[in-house]
Symmetry: C2
Subunit: 320 residues, 2 copies
C-alpha cells in the first residue's frame, strides 16, 4: 500500500501502532485511519477486534461530517490490523501511541516491550494524563525517546494535544511529536515543564471546583450552571482564551489596563471562591441532580458531538 501523495507520507508517518484498545485508543485509531495511516492495534483482550470495530463505526459519521474519508472505519480494511503482543505490534511503526491503564507498573512493563520491538526512528508517545515520561521510561534502554502526548477526550474530535517532555526526554523528540500531531490536524502544545494535570485539566478542575461549590450552596442547579457556561464564558472561550478575553476587556489599554482597574476586584473575588470537598453529601447531591439531564448518556453525547462538529466547521477547526 502506498501513500505517495498524502500529507502523512510527506511528514514521514505512514504506520502507527495504538497500544491499548479502550475508548482513547479507539478514538486515536479512528483519527489515524482517517488520515491515511496504517494502524495496528495492540491489546490483550480477546474481544478487542469487535470492540474496536464497533467503536470505529460509532465515530465514522462524526469524522465524515468533518470531511474525512471514513471507509476504513466502517468496514474491514487492510489498513487496520490487530496484534496482541506489543513488541510484535510495533515492529513497523513510525509512531506508537500508548493508551494503557494509568498504572505505573503496567506502563513501565509495556514501554520495555515496545522499545524492544520498535524501529529506531519511531515516535514513542504515551497518552498518560498523570504519569511523567521519566517514570514510565525507567526500564527502557533509551529513556530519552519517551514523551507524553496527552489528548483531550475524544482525540478524534478535540484538537488539543499537550506535549509534555520529562527531564529525560530528548528535545529532538519534542519536535518530532509536534510534527506528527500537526500532520494529523491536532494543535500540539508543548509545556514548559511537567506539572500534575498539565494545563487543560488543571483549568477544568479549577472551574469545576467553583461549579461544585455553587451547586452545593443552592445558588444554581447543575443544569442551570451548565446553561450559564454555554451561554457566556463557554462561547467566549471557544473563540478567545481567558487572557485574550481580558485583554479585550481592558479597552485600548488591553490587559495592563484591565489588571489596573479590575485586578483588585478580581483578587477580592478569588478570596471568596469556594473550596468544596467531594464528600458523601456533596457526591450524593451531584449524583441526584444528574438524574435531571434530559436524555440518555448516549443521546446527550450524540447531541454534543453534533453541536461540536457544527462549531468546528464554523470556526474552521476541522482538521480535514
Amino acid at each position: 500500500m502506498t501513500h505517495d501523495t498524502t500529507a502523512e507520507s510527506a511528514s514521514g508517518f505512514r504506520t502507527a501502532t495504538v497500544v491499548g484498545g479502550g475508548v482513547i485508543g479507539i478514538s486515536w485509531t479512528a483519527l489515524f485511519l482517517a488520515h491515511g495511516l496504517e494502524v495496528t492495534v495492540s491489546d490483550p483482550l480477546p474481544d478487542v477486534r469487535d470492540r474496536v470495530r464497533a467503536g470505529l463505526r460509532e465515530i465514522a459519521p462524526t469524522l465524515a461530517q468533518l470531511g474525512y474519508a471514513v471507509a476504513p472505519l466502517e468496514q474491514s480494511s487492510p489498513m487496520l490490523r490487530f496484534e496482541a503482543e506489543p513488541a510484535a505490534a510495533v515492529h513497523d511503526a513510525d509512531v506508537v501511541q500508548e493508551n494503557a491503564p494509568e498504572r505505573l507498573d503496567v506502563k513501565q512493563q509495556l514501554w520495555q516491550e515496545i522499545e524492544r520491538g520498535a524501529p529506531a526512528h519511531a515516535l514513542l508517545a504515551s497518552s498518560s494524563s498523570s504519569l511523567p515520561a521519566s517514570q514510565m521510561a525507567q526500564g527502557m534502554q533509551a529513556r530519552e525517546r519517551l514523551i507524553v502526548g496527552h489528548p483531550f477526550n475524544p482525540p478524534h474530535l478535540v484538537p488539543l494535544v499537550e506535549v509534555a517532555r520529562s527531564s529525560t526526554t530528548d528535545p529532538a523528540v519534542v519536535g518530532l511529536a509536534v510534527t506528527f500531531y500537526r500532520s494529523i490536524g491536532k494543535r500540539p502544545l508543548v509545556l514548559g515543564r511537567e506539572i500534575p494535570g498539565f494545563v487543560a485539566n488543571r483549568l477544568q478542575a479549577a472551574l469545576f471546583r467553583e461549579a461544585v461549590y455553587l451547586v452545593s450552596q443552592g445558588i444554581v442547579t447543575e443544569q442551570a450552571l451548565d446553561e450559564v457556561v454555554t451561554s457566556s464564558i463557554g462561547m467566549r472561550w471557544a473563540v478567545a482564551g481567558p487572557f485574550r478575553t481580558f485583554h479585550l476587556g481592558g479597552g485600548q489599554g488591553g490587559l495592563p489596563d484591565f489588571l489596573l482597574h479590575l485586578g483588585p476586584a478580581l483578587q477580592a473575588l478569588w478570596s471568596q471562591l469556594g473550596t468544596p470537598a467531594l464528600d458523601a453529601p456533596t457526591t450524593d447531591l451531584l449524583s441526584r441532580q444528574a438524574q435531571d439531564f434530559d436524555g440518555s448518556v448516549v443521546e446527550l453525547a450524540r447531541q454534543r458531538d453534533e453541536a461540536e462538529v457544527r462549531l468546528m466547521r464554523a470556526l474552521d477547526e476541522s482538521p480535514a
Copy 2:
C-alpha cells in the same frame, strides 16, 4: 408608532429606557432597537448622543450578521431619543435598564429618581455586577420593584443574563424580568440567592486564577494557555457545560460513575491548584506577555466578534 405584530408587543414591552450611556448601555440600546423597542437613553454627559450613535454604528454590522434589521442603529431614528434627566427619561418606559457606575451612592440616588418618574408597570432592572438590589433600592418607596439583570459583556452578543433578586425583591418581578429578557432573545438565569460575582464571573475568576498561576510558574505563556483553552475546554463548554461534560465522561453510568472513579483524582488535583496574587511582579509579567498578542485591541476584538457570530449561527444561538 405601533408594533402590533411584533414579539415585543405580544410580551408587553414596547419602550425601554437605558440609564447610563457607556459601553454596556450602548450595547443594550443596540439590542433593544434591533428588537423593535423604542429606546430613550439617559446620561448627563454632554457628548452622549455622539458617543451612543458612534457605538451603535460599530455594533450594527455584527447584529446584521445575526439577522437583525439594523437601520435604527445606523442612522438617526425616531426610535432612539435622549433625555438627560432620569425621571423624565423613564416616564413612558415599559422597562428601565440601568448601567450607571458601580458606586452605591450613585445607584441609590438614581433609583429614587427613576422610581419617581417611571410607570407603575415598568420593569426596573440594574446591570450591576456587584451591588445587591436590596442596597441599591434603599431610598426607594417600593424597594420590592428593583431587580438585578446582569448581562455578560457585550449584552448585544452574549445570551446570558443573570437575574438576581434580593431579599426585598417581589417574586413577581422575577417572572417579569425573565419574560422581558426572553422576549429579546436572551437566556435569563434566575439565581437561588445573591452571591458576590454571581455565577459566571465566579467561574471565570476560578479558571483565571489557575491560568495566572500556570503563566507565573512558566508552564505556558498567556498565548499558549489561550490556545489550550480554545482548542479543548472552551469548545467543549460552548456546547456542553462542565456538569454535562463530566456526565458524558462517565460512560453509561453518567456523573455518579464519573465521581466514583475520577472524583478522588479530581479532588487531589484541587489540592494542588495555585493561589497566586496579582502583586507587582505578577502584574508586570502578565502585562509584558500581553504585548505578544498578534494585533491591536480593535483588530483582535473584531476577529473575536466575527468568530463569535459564526459560532452563534452554527449553534443556532442567534436571537434574531
